[in-house]
């Protein structure tokens, strides 16, 4: 394969990777930004979304219908679970940073083992809503992967709109800036927190439903997205949507292109190195506000 086609394939793979990263990380970034809670169970919410997508597909005969049904059902179900987690667990810990980390670690084990018990240890394939194969002269490419890129942009735009243009976003930002003043103005802070946590988890589930057709549903799949989300969020700056998008592009494209030309482990080393450098020289991340 010549250099041109190789770069084309590398860029496509890199963009898909960036889309996956951005989708996985946006919920984590949101939860931290508004609540200052580091949700270690984020990867397991993602896994639950994928597993639910598979479960829904078993009940719906056609692949496109199953996809749409999963797209609606999985984020709602996972969001509801997160709402429950927030009121039953995090709220009782007063959102203390250390306690919530430990609590969400525990939650991640519960969710993982629960999925193992009820879903089983097998990797399950979920059919894409449409089968489209793009045929370039040098290689073929999955049309659905390009759809994932578009979907990631749409999801990020929607989250941006909610945060900066809607009333719910205004309330969330007010709570983020000063919890007590927000409460003095009649904002139900408890509900804002529960809603934010549910939205973050729902976004993880939504990401999983979009991504699972190009991967597979498996009870251990939450680990990688969690790690990658942390990398993206640390580089981009916790709570910054713009930072999340740009960090996802940096990591995704560099990983896509480097791993095509050099051994893929090198790309992982580089991503980790960037995280280390960002933490040393700009601890708040590229776009994060100073704490």
């Amino acid at each position: 394969m010549g250099t041109g086609p190789l770069l084309l394939l590398a860029s496509l793979e890199g963009l898909v990777m960036a889309a996956v990263l951005a989708l996985a990380a946006v919920g984590l970034s949101l939860t931290f930004g508004v609540m200052r809670v580091v949700n270690v169970a984020h990867g397991e919410f993602y896994m639950l979304g994928a597993v639910l997508a598979w479960a829904v597909a078993q009940f719906v005969p056609s692949a496109p219908m199953g996809f749409v049904a999963a797209l609606i059902f999985a984020p709602l179900a996972v969001g509801a679970l997160a709402w429950l987690t927030d009121t039953a667990l995090l709220k009782r810990l007063n959102y203390n940073p250390e306690s919530t980390i430990v609590a969400t670690i525990g939650l991640s084990y519960l969710l993982q083992q629960g999925a193992l018990s009820f879903f089983g240890p097998d990797a399950r394939a979920v059919q894409a809503p449409f089968e489209l194969r793009l045929q370039f002269p040098w290689f073929g490419y999955s049309g659905y992967k390009l759809f994932v890129i578009a979907a990631a942009l749409a999801v990020l735009a929607a989250v941006w709109w909610i945060l900066s243009r809607s009333r719910a976003g205004l309330v969330m930002r007010a709570t983020q800036v000063d919890r007590n003043t927000a409460r003095a103005f009649g904002i139900n802070v408890d509900r804002v927190y529960a809603g934010t946590f549910a939205l973050g988890a729902g976004l993880a589930a939504l990401a999983a439903v979009l991504i699972v057709p190009i991967s597979q549903a498996h009870y251990l799949m939450g680990h990688d997205p969690l790690l990658l989300s942390f990398i993206v969020v640390i580089i981009g700056g916790l709570g910054s949507l713009r930072g999340t998008l740009i960090a996802a592009l940096i990591i995704g494209l560099s990983d896509g292109i480097l791993s095509m030309l050099y051994p893929p482990t090198l790309a992982k080393i580089l991503a980790t190195l960037v995280v280390a450098l960002v933490l040393v020289f700009r601890p708040q991340g590229l776009f994060g506000a100073k704490a």
Binding site: M1, E13, F139, G140, I214, S215
Partner: protein
């Protein structure tokens, strides 16, 4: 105060009767207590797809052995213990099965890193450890006197037997895609060697980390002048690998594809995105789709382990078995029975006699004991050798096109375990 004396009376009665009964129970244990076999099972982790079927086959084989009168007149039971497909837990499982459950011997592990990690503990505990792994580590001398592989041919023999057919029928320039650990390295080393012996050449070797979930980035490394793409992948992402390979080549020109069925073990060939495999070839340890000339004992085996003519579960057609590997569990239990009977096995004190009895075995006749086919057994290397199959995918089914001879896979001994001490 009345309830206290009553309680102590009851307790005393129970203790007394336990004491009185225990000599009888003990006496009977020497004759009719069950033979306890430990099964090191990949119930979770990356080997779970295999583990589920290994458990079913073990239970099917166990029912047959017990229906035929057990071993040495004693009933047999199997204790299953999950190792998470993890070498560290594997060694712990060997220990737990031996010391806590008091198993007479242990069998069943498949993944080579688990076998390599657990075998030393089996030797320390001096417990026979019969692996169903197809890895070359047993015959290569990496394990020990207590570790045996009598139920399945190892990778070195498999690929050596297969290589001539591949170079003669598919092409001489081969690119290999394999997982980057012991099992994949066996493929890389011995298939390359066998291809070179046939006048062919492996022009690229693409190692993929075992935890990888995305594969497209590796495909540009496949040279365009490749005649044959040889793939062998394992783990939860195998389906993604094959689908992405299909997308990569699309409708464009592509090399011949020869895969080890491991890449699609437990996966329905009719899954969406796999249609491009039509016309490609697979190695099979045993033919997943029942062939027209299948012997009666294979039909009986399918029924006993709950598998239909397509290699899927009788209760769920989407639940495809790991048919090319799981026969090794069935056959290993047959060897355990024969070995225990030949050595007059009575208790754990006879474990060494059992190993010596298995080492003395030379041939296994095809039949209900050895459902995959006839095998020879090399007592020095602790390794069995059987025939292999090459199948072609046609309309989502695997049709056998070639059967290797037993001799095709033989190679000079690398180790003599019988010279080692127990």
């Amino acid at each position: 105060m009345t309830h206290l004396p009553r309680r102590s009376v009851l307790a005393g009665l129970a203790a007394g009767s336990a004491l009185a009964l225990s000599p009888i129970r003990f006496a009977s244990a020497q004759t009719s207590a069950p033979v306890k076999l430990g099964f090191q099972l990949h119930r979770t982790g990356i080997g779970a797809g295999y583990g589920r079927w290994y458990e079913r086959v073990a239970l099917g084989a166990l029912a047959r052995v017990n229906a035929e009168g057990g071993i040495n007149g004693r009933p047999v039971e199997i204790v299953f213990e999950d190792d998470g497909t993890d070498p560290k837990r594997g060694a712990e499982v060997v220990e737990k099965l031996t010391t806590r459950h008091g198993c007479d011997m242990i069998f069943g592990p498949l993944f080579s890193h688990v076998v390599i990690g657990s075998a030393p503990r089996a030797a320390e505990l001096k417990v026979p450890y019969l692996v169903c792994s197809e890895g070359y580590h047993v015959a290569a001398g990496m394990t020990n006197r207590w570790t045996l592989q009598p139920g399945i041919t190892d990778v070195r023999a498999q690929v050596s037997a297969m290589a001539p057919w591949v170079t003669q029928n598919l092409g001489k320039k081969v690119t290999m895609v394999f997982p980057d650990y012991a099992f994949g390295h066996d493929h890389r080393d011995f298939f390359s060697e066998a291809v070179a012996a046939q006048g062919g050449e492996v022009i690229a070797k693409i190692a993929i980390p075992p935890t990888e979930t995305s594969f497209t980035r590796y495909f540009p490394q496949i040279p365009t002048d490749t005649d044959v793409l040889y793939h062998v992948m394992v783990g939860p992402s195998v389906l993604t690998f094959v689908k992405e390979l299909g997308e990569f080549y699309g409708s464009g020109a592509r090399p011949q594809i020869f895969g080890f069925i491991d890449s699609l073990e437990g996966v329905d060939l009719a899954s969406p995105g796999l249609d491009f495999l039509n016309g490609s070839h697979f190695w099979e340890g045993q033919c997943r789709n029942k062939q027209p000339d299948a012997p009666d004992y294979e039909t009986a085996y399918r029924a006993a382990v709950g598998v239909d003519d397509n290699g899927a579960s009788l209760s769920d057609a989407r639940d495809v078995s790991t048919y090319s590997h799981m026969f090794s569990v069935w056959e290993t239990l047959s060897v355990i029975k024969k070995g225990m009977e030949a050595s007059g096995y009575q208790s754990t004190a006879d474990r060494q006699k059992f190993v010596e009895a298995v080492e003395a075995m030379t041939t296994f006749e095809a039949g209900l004991d050895h459902v995959q086919g006839a095998k020879t057994f090399n007592g020095k290397t602790h390794q069995a050798f059987g025939q292999q199959f090459i199948s072609r995918v046609e309309g989502g089914k695997l049709i056998r096109v070639h059967t290797t001879e037993l001799e095709d896979g033989l190679y000079p001994d690398e180790v003599d375990y019988t010279a080692q001490s127990f």
